[in-house]
Symmetry: C2
């Protein structure tokens, strides 16, 4: 994420619409992500979460019983980063490490009842923030964007 400022994020852009970067999908992706991450972190702050801890909590609150390795792969984090994220959530009582009965090396990360409740509330804030950010798009456009991003995010 990049520093969030109060002024409009455009301004200089008006003069640079035809910059060498204007058609660069990597640049557009990075800038869109920076705005999205800034808005997401701001919305999650009242729940004591950030984007990464929120995404770990979201997966722990589902029915997948992901191992830490699963979390690392899905979230594109190094396993060592998952340790710190799970530690933080576990200290707050939002997730538990449970032994995987089929593999004594592995921990399964599951949300506690409180974790599920915090996740539920945080997901409302996150959704609100996202809708505010994407208010310029029709619901069809959002749908299309999701399909295109899924193709990039999870290549065949």
């Amino acid at each position: 994420m990049v520093k969030q400022r109060d002024d409009s994020p455009v301004e200089a852009g008006d003069a640079m619409r035809e910059s060498p970067l204007a058609d660069d999908l990597s640049f557009l992706l990075a800038r869109a992500n920076a705005l999205s991450l800034a808005a997401g972190n701001a919305a999650l702050a009242e729940h004591g979460l950030r984007a990464r801890s929120y995404s770990v909590l979201a997966l722990a609150a589902g029915d997948f019983r992901p191992s830490q390795r699963d979390l690392a792969e899905y979230l594109r984090l190094d396993p060592s980063q998952v340790v710190a994220l799970v530690d933080g959530l576990q200290t707050r009582g939002l997730v538990r490490r449970e032994p995987d009965p089929t593999d004594r090396r592995a921990n399964v990360v599951v949300a506690t009842d409180e974790g599920r409740e915090i996740y539920r509330r945080a997901s409302v804030s996150a959704r609100d923030a996202e809708q505010r950010l994407h208010r310029g798009l029709t619901s069809e456009a959002r749908e299309e964007l999701g399909a295109l991003l899924r193709a990039l995010a999870f290549p065949a």
Copy 2:
């Protein structure tokens, strides 16, 4: 960017296709950006650049004569980060700070001849990497993705 691993980035995803995050545009944007940034940085490394220095050089190589402030706004960087980026490029002789004749506070950042040449070569590498990453999309899909990302990256 997240650590780049040799194995497929999917794996855990197969079991989590229907995770609470699977439809989260912010998450998809973050994951797609992580892959894009990793590929971009890898492609730019042989030119001694990274995504951020490349984007500064790209704008300095255009016809805009951007001030450091312009660069900060367009790239969503703090002005203090631009100082460091321009310092690095200037030390390598790829850009110059020129006084803005209309505002003695401001520097205009322009690419040197060598900077333009490095940029030209780097842009080929960047384009190749991007095409490899987006090979799953038709050119119409890429066009559509660009339009949607522009709407998010540069809100009205």
